[in-house]
């Protein structure tokens, strides 16, 4: 039993480390875009490998714990939630890498002036990821709830940016390729925001046992 309890702590540690890598990957990918610096891509690829290793490690730990511990109550909720958060984090890593790869291509195209809304979208998404992970580490249900409320802000920013890019393309066809890249960046960021809300929902489930998915939080 003592061994299994250690493994539960280890599972939390693995997931927290994986979250750290995802944050770093997103930071490097978005900073490269802001700074027009293509050199970050290699770092993002290296971090992605670490994220993938963690993904396998967390899956294996969850499987071992389910088999050996036959968990109940908060232990069961933690393992189920970690199993799902593991996939969410892995996909966040993929989206960060998509941004990084897109940036490498975008930098050879006509530059789009940094829109205020785009910077805000990046900051808001990064902040949601950080806060969702902090809420997991600190079992902070209030912070998790705040993350859920901020998802609409990210969605709105992404929609605004998409409209701006469409108008830019209409006004000046030379911007078509780079504006399409920006729409994809925005879509990747919006997806990362969605996945951060998934993590916040899981934190609420672990801590309180309440399932707030699919609008349950608003009820």
């Amino acid at each position: 039993m003592v061994e299994e309890l250690k493994n539960l702590q280890q599972l939390k540690n693995f997931l927290a480390s994986m979250g750290g890598y995802v944050e770093e990957s997103l930071k490097q990918a978005t900073q490269a875009l802001i700074d027009r610096n293509p050199n970050n891509h290699e770092n993002v690829e290296k971090i992605e490998q670490k994220i993938n290793e963690c993904h396998l490690q967390v899956d294996q730990t969850c499987m071992n714990l389910l088999a050996k511990l036959s968990p109940f109550a908060s232990d069961l909720r933690l393992i189920l939630a970690c199993y799902k958060m593991n996939n969410d984090l892995e996909r966040m890593g993929d989206h960060a890498r998509n941004i990084s790869r897109g940036t490498s291509q975008y930098l050879s195209k006509k530059e789009i002036p940094h829109e205020k809304d785009f910077l805000q979208l990046i900051n808001e998404t990064r902040s949601m990821v950080k806060d969702s992970l902090d809420s997991f580490v600190n079992k902070d249900i209030e912070k998790a709830k705040e993350v859920l409320l901020r998802d609409d802000i990210v969605d709105e920013l992404k929609n605004t940016l998409t409209i701006q890019m469409k108008e830019l393309m209409k006004k000046d066809p030379d911007y078509v390729e780079s504006a399409l890249d920006f729409i994809l960046f925005a879509r990747n960021l919006e997806r990362i925001g969605d996945l951060a809300t998934n993590i916040a929902e899981e934190v609420i489930f672990i801590t309180s046992g309440d399932d707030v998915r699919h609008g349950g939080f608003l009820k």
Binding site: L69, P71, F72, A73, S74, D75, L76
Partner: protein, 255 residues
């Protein structure tokens, strides 16, 4: 509608062994056809509690009981109630299979009926066959009913004891760790059997196996040092218990 019928109701139940207060002011109800699992660390009062439901507790020297146990609305502790009659109404299966030594398989099942005054062989045969079928052991013993009950394997002996308890058609069946002495295959058979039996009888089972409690029961009661700490739907107790002590016990933090 039948599902919501209250079959067993325990009110302000206390039990003592001399000066030791083993069961403290328990109140709970069990609906007809439910399976109630009693969980808790050793010495918490689970077994004493179920032995109050068939008036076995009072057989222990210096043991006493206060409060009410209502079965189908009748208090089994009412003055003038015959404890032997109560025990006929409330079947019991113990931790260790205990077929009567020296009796055949048939006689083991029929003995309760005979003590109730049923003598006709045809009626006895009919009920013995029905009970052995209900206990899911008929196919294994139908050709050796005259062999000693003790010649069967442990798992078979336990199912024989269940058949013996069912033969007198009790509305309640008490089971005190009925699979703790059995291998996993025999345990699985008994657990499957419980799901069939609950169609006819309400079951109260004591178990130290949390997985078993979560698998077989619809309601769970957690006892600790004679107190009923938490009682509710099994699905909630094992995923989202309300009381910290319950959480700590079922997740193995103590006990």
């Amino acid at each position: 509608m039948e599902k919501s019928e209250e079959l067993l109701s325990v009110r302000n139940l206390n039990a003592w062994f001399d000066n030791f207060h083993a069961v403290k002011n328990i109140n709970l109800s069990v609906q007809k056809n439910d399976i109630l699992a009693l969980i808790g660390p050793s010495g918490c009062g689970k077994s004493t509690f179920i032995r109050c439901i068939n008036r076995l507790h009072e057989e222990v020297p210096k043991a006493r009981v206060s409060g009410e146990v209502l079965i189908q609305g009748e208090n089994i502790y009412d003055r003038g109630t015959d404890p032997v009659k109560v025990r006929r109404q409330v079947g019991m299966v113990f931790q260790k299979p205990n077929p009567f030594p020296g009796l055949t398989i048939f006689e083991n099942v029929a003995i309760g009926l005979k003590l109730s005054g049923i003598k006709r062989k045809s009626i006895l045969s009919e009920i013995v066959e029905k009970s052995l079928k209900q206990a899911a052991i008929w196919e294994e013993v139908k050709d050796k009913l005259n062999q000693p009950g003790t010649s069967l394997s442990g798992g078979q002996q336990q199912r024989l004891c269940i058949a013996r308890a069912l033969a007198v058609n009790p509305p309640i069946l008490l089971m005190d760790e009925p699979t703790s002495a059995l291998d996993p295959i025999s345990t699985a058979r008994i657990e499957d059997l419980l799901q069939e039996l609950k169609k006819h009888v309400t079951i109260v089972i004591v178990t130290h196996n949390m997985q078993q409690a979560s698998r077989v029961s619809s309601k769970t009661a957690f006892f600790l040092m004679g107190d009923l700490v938490e009682f509710g739907d099994t699905s909630l107790i094992f995923t989202k218990p309300k009381v910290t002590k319950t959480e700590e016990y079922i997740t193995g933090r103590f006990g």
